[in-house]
C-alpha cells in the first residue's frame, strides 16, 4: 500500500469588513505582499454583520481556523458596528474556549484599508499558528468531511 505523505494544509476562513480589511487585502495584493492561499476571504458589510452561527458553520464545513478582520475601533464605517462586534466576539470566543475549543482557532484583528502589510503579516501568522495546531477535530462534522 502506498502511504500518502501529505503535509497538513489548513483551511482558513477570513471574514473581512468591506470597508477596511477587504480593501486591505486588495492593497496587499497590489503591493505584491503575499499571504497564504489557504486563506479564504468572505466579504461582509461590517464586522458586526458576523453572526456567531457563521463561525460555527465555517468550522462545520471544514475550516480549521476562523479570523474576523474589521476596522480599528473608532473607525467603523457605520460608527459603532465594531464596538458591538468586539463585545460579541469576546464573549463567544470565551464560550468556545469554555467548551474546550482551542482559543488559537479563533481570532479578531483590526486591519484598516491602508494596512496591506499588516493584513499579509496577520494572515501569515494565523496560518502558521493553525498549521502548528493541526486539524480541527473538536468542532468537525464528519458528514462534511471529504
Amino acid at each position: 500500500m502506498q502511504v500518502e505523505n501529505k503535509t497538513f494544509k489548513p483551511t482558513i476562513v477570513a471574514f473581512c469588513c468591506n470597508w477596511c480589511s477587504y480593501a486591505g487585502a486588495d492593497l496587499a495584493g497590489s503591493a505584491r505582499l503575499s499571504y497564504p492561499a489557504e486563506v479564504k476571504i468572505i466579504r461582509i458589510p461590517c464586522s458586526c454583520r458576523l453572526n456567531p452561527m457563521f463561525i460555527l458553520k465555517a468550522f462545520q464545513r471544514g475550516a480549521d481556523g476562523v479570523i474576523l478582520c474589521g476596522c480599528h475601533p473608532g473607525d467603523c464605517h457605520y460608527t459603532t458596528g465594531n464596538y458591538y462586534a468586539r463585545r460579541r466576539m469576546t464573549t463567544l470566543f470565551s464560550m468556545l474556549n469554555y467548551l474546550g475549543i482551542e482559543k488559537e482557532r479563533t481570532r479578531v484583528e483590526w486591519v484598516s484599508a491602508a494596512e496591506g502589510a499588516k493584513f499579509s503579516a496577520v494572515m501569515n501568522d494565523f496560518v502558521a499558528t493553525i498549521t502548528a495546531l493541526g486539524e480541527n477535530k473538536k468542532l468537525e462534522d464528519l458528514r462534511c468531511k471529504k
Partner: protein, 324 residues
C-alpha cells in the same frame, strides 16, 4: 406551604369574583402530587389549583400568549420568576396592563428525581419544617434534609425578593444570594481537553427534544432559528456530535445577556444535562468584562451586548484577569 396555598386560592377567588381578572394562571397537580404543571383557572375549576413543594415551573413565559387575550389575567410568580417577567416586559413581549401579578412566597422547590435517589418512593405530599422536608408517602412518613433534594436552580437562588408585583402573599424572607458560579469556575480551571471531554459527555446525551428551548422565557422568538429548515438542524435528533454543540452554543448565545438564570432549562431537561452551566458562563463573563448585570432586575438597564464602551477588552483577552 398549605397556608400560602390557601391564601393564594382565596386571593384568586376574590379577584375573580370582583371581576378584576377573568382567569388565573397557576399550577395544578397531575396524576401524582409531584406532577405539577402550569394551568389556567376560572371560578369553575379553581379547586384544582395547588401550590406545593413541587411547583417549580416558571409561569412567566405563558403570559406571552395569555396577555394578548381579552381581559386581565392573574399570575402567581415566585421571586425568581419575576426576573423573567421583567425581562419579557423589557422586550415588549407581554402586555403589563393585562396582567395582575401576585408575588408568592418560595422557600425552594423540590426535585422528585432527587427524592427518588434517596429511596423515597410513592410520594403523596411534602411539607417543609425548618431545614427538613417531611414527605408523606404510601410507605409512611419520611424526613430528609431539604437542601439535599432541592431543585438545582434553588441551590443557587438569587434571593427571595420579588422584583415586580402588584400584591404579595406570604413573607419575603431576606436571604443572601447564593454563589452561582462555583461550578463554572471549576470548569474554567480545567484544561481545554478536560473541558471538551466534560461537555462532549454531557451534550452527547441531548436528544433534541427542544424542551429547554420551549420552556425558556428568553427563547420567545416567534420563528426560531432552529425551526428553519435551512439551518440543517431543524427539529430532528442529532446525528452528529457537531449538531448538539451547535444547538447548545447558539441557544445559549441567543439568550446571552437576556438569560435571568431562572434554571428552567436544566429543570426540564429529560437527560439531566447541566445546561445552566453554559448560560452561567455567559453571565459570569459579562459580569467580569462589562460590569455586574442581572437581567430582569429592572426594565430599564441596557444589556451588556446592547451597549459598548471605547475601552472594552479585545477578544483575545477573554481569559486574562484584567483585560486591557
Amino acid at each position: 406551604m398549605q397556608e400560602i396555598m390557601k391564601q393564594a386560592k382565596l386571593k384568586a377567588e376574590e379577584l375573580l369574583t370582583k371581576g378584576v381578572v377573568n382567569r388565573v394562571i397557576g399550577w395544578t397537580e397531575g396524576d401524582f402530587s409531584y406532577d405539577c404543571s402550569p394551568a389556567t383557572f376560572t371560578l369553575d375549576n379553581l379547586d384544582k389549583f395547588v401550590y406545593t413543594e413541587f411547583c417549580g415551573a416558571n409561569l412567566s413565559k405563558y403570559l406571552i400568549e395569555e396577555s394578548k387575550k381579552e381581559g386581565k389575567i392573574l399570575v402567581f410568580l415566585k421571586p425568581c420568576d419575576t426576573y423573567s417577567f421583567n425581562q419579557l416586559i423589557q422586550e415588549h413581549r407581554i402586555k403589563r396592563e393585562n396582567i395582575y401579578v401576585v408575588g408568592i412566597e418560595c422557600r425552594g422547590k423540590v426535585d422528585i428525581d432527587k427524592l427518588r435517589a434517596f429511596g423515597i418512593d410513592g410520594v403523596l405530599g411534602c411539607k417543609t419544617e425548618g431545614d427538613k422536608l417531611i414527605c408523606d408517602t404510601i410507605y409512611g412518613e419520611k424526613t430528609v434534609d431539604k437542601v439535599d433534594v432541592m431543585l438545582e436552580k434553588c441551590l443557587s437562588c438569587k434571593g427571595k425578593k420579588h422584583v415586580v408585583y402588584d400584591e404579595l402573599i406570604g413573607e419575603e424572607v431576606v436571604e443572601e444570594p447564593k454563589d452561582r458560579f462555583g461550578m463554572v469556575a471549576q470548569l474554567e480551571a480545567m484544561t481545554e481537553d478536560e473541558r471538551y471531554k466534560f461537555w462532549q459527555n454531557e451534550l452527547s446525551k441531548c436528544i433534541r427534544c427542544n424542551a429547554c428551548r420551549n420552556v425558556c422565557p428568553a427563547c420567545s422568538c416567534v420563528h426560531c432559528v432552529f425551526d428553519n429548515p435551512d439551518s440543517n438542524i431543524a427539529s430532528k435528533a442529532n446525528t452528529d456530535r457537531f449538531e448538539e454543540k451547535l444547538y447548545h452554543i447558539i441557544r445559549a448565545w441567543h439568550v446571552a445577556g437576556r438569560c435571568t438564570d431562572c434554571g428552567e432549562c436544566s429543570r426540564v431537561c429529560p437527560q439531566g444535562i447541566p445546561l445552566h452551566l453554559i448560560n452561567r458562563k455567559f453571565i459570569k463573563d459579562m459580569n467580569e468584562f462589562y460590569g455586574e448585570y442581572q437581567a430582569g432586575e429592572d426594565t430599564e438597564t441596557k444589556a451588556p451586548l446592547n451597549s459598548y464602551t471605547f475601552g472594552d477588552r479585545e477578544p483575545h483577552e477573554f481569559d486574562t484577569k484584567e483585560g486591557k
